[in-house]
């Protein structure tokens, strides 16, 4: 029988998170895919809040500062406990059997290369804050901290310990948990990529009702305020840096122009999509940041930095249990509240945004790979960054001319430029710094817009372009309006205040994720609807009796007549089944099987086509 040449079926590229059957035609500019409740309520709340803040900025600022102060004083212990519980939970998840589960199912393949993935994780997770606080924070702790005598060697060591605590495993554990929960419930359970989905094991179908809408609206508003206020405040810092470098002056006009430029870049990046826009910018960002690090490492106190990295890491791990559970109980002070608790509130408030973004770019990773990639790799990169800049600044203070610690008290953004002035080629490194700042801003802004797009599109991971444009522009407009009208700090404080309710949400999310994983069956599996044609057969005893070869059972031989097994069961009808044909080609001599097996041409295959077409 003639056979068609055997050809392998071309491998189908795995479906990414945006390739689902419900994906709208996002290429069309007029296409719209929104969740009306979440989209319009969020937009109205954002615009209304901005207007009210501008109108009553002093009162709004006082109100939220009062709330934030009360939260830090009364619920500091709760933040500390929540952060530690989540870190332990994530570490347990990493080594548990759930670590083998692949996000998107066992056939899923990662959408991005490891480098692109790390670049996006790092850029969205830490962003601009790290650039400024890598110098400023160790300097603050070195100058004034209750943990050691200010300005001493011990203070320098403690400064790095505390900075590592604030930027290390704890914030990344929060991001990991939120990202993991979102990715798991979306990619493995088929729920929308939205904060509401992570509560499915607890709330069931109610996530699609008002409770789910409220959760998504809270996440949208908090994310936009967080990104927009950071953009507004950060632009002031960029302006200060440019003024320091080129003496262009500082004014709201220049800052609005800077916001327009950054928003334009972020809008292009969001419209270009994840692969062409955000990923490429994140990679450029990582290259520029690495270049800056390399500059400081080579031109700065290289040996001091290299020595410090290992020592800082060792100290951090040694004192982690002590520092991460410290509540300043016996000292009765407020330092820990104004630093550690503030940071915990800040990271938790940002977790819906960063977690959602991390989930979006992590399709196809196993849970273990996800945790290693999101918890450990960015933490190590962050520690290297903090050591290069923080220890360089400490070196200047301890062994050099000093002055940075004092400057930090007055102006945080200028601190980094002051540090760079201590080394050769400071004009080039300062310019590079400005470039890194701008790219960090753009990557924070575009990933923020993308996250809001996804949530307000009802969890569509690839929303239409018109919506992306709307949110990217609204983000820039809110930042500019608050910059000109006032109220940036007030709204930022409001965003951080959401950390307390969100800490509760995180614990709830952790329980929900644990429950979801415990009942999860890997992969899509096999399922077939029951076939009921109204006929049933009674099963019969029909054991085989193969022939014997040299006293051995022949596993591929011809069966003899059936007989009952072991004990006689006369009441059971028996049938002769199986082993009806000796499979000569499987074992035995080659000669015996000659002409038997199908080769590349398919010889030896019996096609049973007779009657099939006719039957149809």
């Amino acid at each position: 029988m003639d056979q068609q040449p055997i050809e392998m079926k071309p491998k189908r590229e795995p479906e990414g998170p945006g390739d689902g059957p419900d994906k709208p035609d996002s290429e069309s500019w007029l296409a719209v895919d929104i969740h009306p409740w979440v989209f319009f309520t969020s937009a109205a709340l954002i615009i209304g809040s901005v207007a009210l803040t501008i109108l009553f900025q002093a009162r709004v600022g006082d109100l939220f500062e009062l709330i934030q102060g009360a939260v830090a004083t009364g619920a500091g212990w709760f933040f500390v406990m929540t952060m530690n519980i989540i870190l332990v939970f994530i570490l347990v998840m990493m080594v548990s059997r759930h670590g083998d589960i692949r996000l998107g199912g066992s056939d899923a393949k990662p959408e991005f290369s490891k480098l692109g993935w790390f670049a996006m994780l790092f850029s969205a997770g830490m962003g601009i804050g790290l650039l400024f606080y890598s110098v400023a924070e160790p300097m603050f702790h070195f100058s004034s901290s209750p943990l050691a005598e200010p300005g001493s060697l011990q203070a320098a060591r403690k400064a790095m310990d505390v900075t590592f605590l604030h930027w290390g495993l704890h914030p990344w554990a929060i991001y990991t948990m939120v990202g993991l929960a979102l990715a798991f419930f979306s990619f493995n359970k088929g729920l929308p990529l939205s904060i509401r989905s992570v509560f499915y094991p607890v709330l069931g179908e109610r996530i699609h009702g008002p409770i789910g809408n409220a959760v998504d609206i809270l996440a949208t508003v908090a994310t936009l305020f967080g990104v927009a206020t950071s953009l507004g405040l950060g632009v002031q810092q960029v302006n200060a840096g440019l003024d320091h470098l080129f003496g262009i002056g500082q004014s709201p006009g220049i800052q609005v122009i800077l916001i327009a430029g950054i928003t334009a870049l972020a809008t292009w990046s969001v419209l270009a999509g994840l692969s062409s826009g955000i990923r490429r910018l994140s990679e450029i960002n990582l290259v520029l940041a690495s270049l800056l690090c390399l500059f400081v490492l080579v031109l700065g106190p290289t040996i001091f930095i290299l020595n410090a990295f290992g020592e800082n890491l060792g100290h951090y791990l040694q004192y982690l249990p002590q520092l991460s559970t410290w509540n300043e109980t016996y000292e009765a002070g407020s330092w820990q509240q104004s630093w550690t608790v503030f940071y915990w509130g800040w990271w938790i408030a940002w977790s819906p945004f960063v977690g959602m973004f991390i989930a979006r770019v992590s399709y196809g990773r196993t849970i273990r790979e996800f945790i290693l990639g999101v918890l450990l790799v960015p933490t190590l990169i962050t520690f290297a960054w903090l050591t290069i800049f923080g220890n360089s600044a400490l070196h200047v203070e301890l062994l050099g001319g000093g002055g940075i610690a004092r400057a930090v008290q007055e102006n945080i953004p200028v601190a980094l430029f002051l540090l760079l002035e201590n080394y050769p080629l400071s004009q080039i490194t300062s310019l590079l710094t400005v470039l890194v700042i701008v790219t960090f801003f753009v990557t924070s802004s575009d990933s923020g817009s993308m996250v809001i797009d996804i949530i307000t599109a009802g969890g569509n991971p690839d929303p239409p372009k018109l919506q992306r444009l709307f949110w990217a522009l609204l983000e820039g407009a809110v930042a500019a309006a608050l910059l000109v009208g006032g109220g940036l700090v007030a709204l930022q404080t409001a965003a951080i205040t959401t950390g307390l309710p969100f800490a509760l949400v995180l614990l709830f999310m952790m329980y929900s994720l644990r429950k979801g994983l415990a009942t999860y069956t890997e992969g899509p599996g096999f399922s077939m609807p029951p076939y009921d044609h109204g006929r049933v057969f009674r099963t019969a005893l029909s054991h085989p009796e193969p022939e014997m070869v040299h006293g051995h059972i022949s596993w591929v031989g011809k069966a003899k007549k059936a007989r009952s097994p072991g004990r006689p069961q006369p009441q059971e009808p028996r049938h002769r089944t199986g082993f009806a044909t000796r499979v000569a080609g499987l074992f035995g001599s080659k000669k015996k099987a000659a002409g038997g097996g199908p080769d590349a041409s398919g010889r030896g295959v019996e096609q049973q086509n007779s009657g099939r077409e006719e039957d149809k």
Binding site: S527, H533, T539, L541
Partner: protein, 222 residues
Amino acid sequence: MLEAIAQRFQGSCMMVMRRQGNEAAFLGSSFLVHSEGYLLTTARAVADDGDLFVVPPDWTQTFPAVTREEVAPVPVEVVARDVPHDVALLKLVPELDINMPEEVMGSAESDPRGTALMSLGVPFGYYRIHTVIAAQSILAGRITSRPGTRLIIFDRRVQFGDIGGPLVSSSGAKVIGVVGGVFDPVELEGLSPPEGVSLQSNLSFAMDIEYGAALLRQALGE
């Protein structure tokens, strides 16, 4: 990992049976390989056409009864047989909406020795014990029989009812073979062992899944 594989493939493994009067006689195990209703089993199990059907496993109970007194048949027809390599392709006669992974079949070539494997089947189906059993083993070796059939050797002694079931690799969770039987050196070489020497083997063999994949490709016209 093996737990995940067992959970994933438990719905794929079905009993092949033949109607004899108003009764159903067990012929062996089979497994789904394509969402259009294609299954693989051994050629010897379905050597005779007619009155063939499959019975999906019953997962409605955690501790099901030993025997399913009555079964609802899903008719199948033999699409192709590769008798020399002992693989047959079946197709469900009714068109059913089957959900299953996109690509089930992998390659037996890439997994190194020692790779964890899982075989699924109904080992005692002939004896009316209608339970799908998942059993673990390792990839012990590969061999080409004298007539040229590629066989995968794994370190578990299968039962007659297991024959025709899938052999799944833990690496990539793909089927790499169709369970064929116990790997018996006496039968393989047709030799008589010296008196007093036992050559009982605890190893089993499976036919390379590529033989099944070739049948499927031909059936799909690829």
